[in-house]
């Protein structure tokens, strides 16, 4: 790209240089020709006879050495090295011209005729050639300077633009990461970028308002619904005797299911809308995974299945412990729900480059490819029939937790079952190495 610009710039410079040079040559030659013509004609006009002309010519030669003259009449007189054949104006090379310190090799001569004789006036054209050379050098020098300047300015300008573009890109990235407060920086120079950034920021403000409104409608309903549900639950609790304990327990379970749906919605909103990492710490992912496996072990064996942990004995990440526990638990619950009669699940933590892969494999039928592709999309929620938690939010919450840790859930059909995993950057264990 840059080479193409430099190439076309050089081409333009050469073209302009050539044109200027040609025009300049033409003008200078024209001027010289008219002066030579004038000098030749002057002699003819002021001398009636050839003899007079000879004397006049000698006088002129003595007076000024600017031009050389030749007279052709009955005899030739003057500078005989000027060719006699010149008509009107012509250039000629005169290698044999006597060197007198002022004369070069290239000449221009013009002839005038009258009174029975011909006067040819000639002049060397080194001046014109010198002018040509200096014009060429001037063009070359200023062209190079302009080229260097243009390159430097272009570099500076494109650097400036790239930085501005980069700030737009990184702002967009942080918005994608859930930071609704990220805005493009303004330089207040009133340039195009400021205008674009201003418009962009206004759009983001508007979008945030809409998102807030939308978000709050969801969590506001969830929040509001919890209060009457809790009141209902408390009423059932206090009237347990009158209702009979079996009915009371059944009703309580129903209310609890509704309450946990509301809580799950609030929790989802909470995880998605916090960007604070104040309580993140370095923790052993393998230990978290083993703890969850241990907690769920009876649930699997009660269903004649098995849950196992495979992988690293210790693997550290920087994360929110509560959320990571919930992430693993939600994936394990999902595996438990979709592994059929004898549910088997394997939780694993393995290193892959600079990342740790936390994965849960179930023994279920897996997912059709179409669903897997949709699953990869950021805000996709699995169809209710697949999701395990009963609230329909278990995997959505796991995905939100992954997003919160700047990563995502990945699903793939294993052999057999579904393999859901999340990659987290590995961390040196500060506690251990730091003493």
């Amino acid at each position: 790209m840059t080479l193409a610009y430099v190439g076309s710039f050089l081409f333009c410079m050469l073209f302009i240089g050539w044109t200027v040079l040609a025009l300049l040559n033409k003008t200078l030659l024209g001027q010289l020709d008219s002066r030579l013509n004038e000098a030749a004609a002057d002699i003819i006009q002021s001398s009636r006879s050839e003899l007079n002309a000879t004397a006049e010519l000698e006088r002129k030669r003595a007076e000024s050495k600017e031009f050389l003259y030749r007279l052709d009449g009955h005899s030739a007189h003057g500078e005989t090295l000027i060719p006699a054949s010149i008509t009107k104006c012509q250039s000629f090379d005169a290698a044999d011209m006597p060197e007198d310190g002022r004369r070069g090799d290239a000449f221009r001569a013009c002839a005038a005729e009258g009174q029975g004789y011909r006067i040819t006036a000639a002049s060397d054209i080194d001046v014109i050639e010198d002018t040509n050379t200096s014009v060429q050098l001037g063009f070359l020098g200023s062209g190079l300077a302009a080229l260097l300047f243009a390159l430097a300015a272009g570099r500076r300008l494109s650097g400036h633009y790239l930085r501005r573009l980069d700030s737009i890109r990184s702002t967009a990235a942080s918005i994608a990461d859930g930071d609704q407060n990220a805005r493009l920086p303004l330089t207040h120079q009133g340039d195009e970028f400021d205008r674009v950034a201003g418009g962009f920021n206004a759009m983001l403000d508007r979008q945030r308002e809409l998102i807030e409104a939308h978000k709050h409608s969801g969590s506001a309903i969830a929040h509001d619904i919890r209060t009457p549900l809790t009141r209902l639950r408390n009423k059932i609790e206090t009237r347990q005797r009158r209702l009979g304990s079996a009915l009371a327990a059944e009703l309580t379970a129903e209310v609890d299911a509704l309450l946990s749906l509301a809580s799950a919605l609030l929790r989802l909103a909470e995880v998605d809308n916090t960007a604070d990492q104040k309580h993140w710490r370095t923790l052993d992912l393998a230990q978290q995974a083993r703890d969850v496996v241990e907690a769920f072990e009876p649930s699997f064996s009660d269903a004649n299945g098995k849950i196992t942990y495979k992988g690293a004995t210790a693997a550290f990440v920087h994360a929110d412990q509560n959320l990571i526990q919930q992430l693993i638990a939600n994936l394990v619950e999902n595996a438990l729900q979709h592994s059929g009669e004898k549910p088997n699940a394997e939780v694993s933590v393995s290193a892959s480059g600079a990342a740790l892969i936390l994965g849960v494999t179930d023994s279920g039928p897996g997912l059709p490819q179409s669903q897997i592709e949709r699953f990869e999309k950021p805000f996709y929620r699995l169809e209710r029939s697949y999701d395990s938690s009963g609230t329909g939010l278990g995997l959505a919450l796991a995905a939100a937790i992954a997003r919160r840790h700047k990563t995502k859930l990945t699903v793939a059909n294993g052999d057999p079952g579904l393999f859901v995993s999340v990659a987290l950057p590995a961390r040196r264990n500060d506690a251990e190495t730091g003493g």
């Binding site: 919890r226 907690a295 769920f296 009876p298 526990q325 619950e333």
Partner: protein, 223 residues
Amino acid sequence: MKFLIVEDDKDIADFIRRGLMEAGHIADHWPCGQDGLHHLTTGSYDAAVIDRLLPDIDGVTLLRQARAGGNATPVLMLTALSAVAQRVEGLEAGADDYLVKPFAFSELLARLNALARRPALNAAPPNISLGSLAVDRLKRRVTVNGAAVDLLPKEFMLLDFLLLHKGELVTRTMLLEQIWGFHFDPKTNIVETHMSRLRKKLGKAEKHLRTVRGAGYVIDEIR
């Protein structure tokens, strides 16, 4: 027992106060932080329930000031959000427990009971026995009628926690937090499955374990 309630929402305050009184306790209620702080530091309470958001000074500040003044009354903090950050902030300020609104009254009562009895727990005996059940807490050994019972670490922790709160309701959420460190609500009955394992291993001694439906568990002498 005598409890202090600092809560600006009148409905919630009434709900807590009525519940506590029905359970045979005394409850003082103050709707704002300054009054709450004054009564927490000058009165003598078994435990206090403090809302995180109050009209004048917030619950965290109130608690920090009380703790800075040397007050050690067990405090349960109430909040509308379950944000981990808020929970940690509350605990750092000196709260002993944390409960997210809305909550079932049984949950609050169970936690308050546990809190009020906490000073006694610090002096808990190294050996606890209940009928045929004997637990050596230091060696983490359990026997039923003198025969050793092999418990997994989590099962031992469950039994131990219940025994330390003998005769009190221990809720499912309390167990999830205390035994597993889970501050969320799994849909799977983790507590139930582990509890049924524990029952099986305890054999005849499992009769001391009573399930309170929809609430939690109580370990007790057989009446």
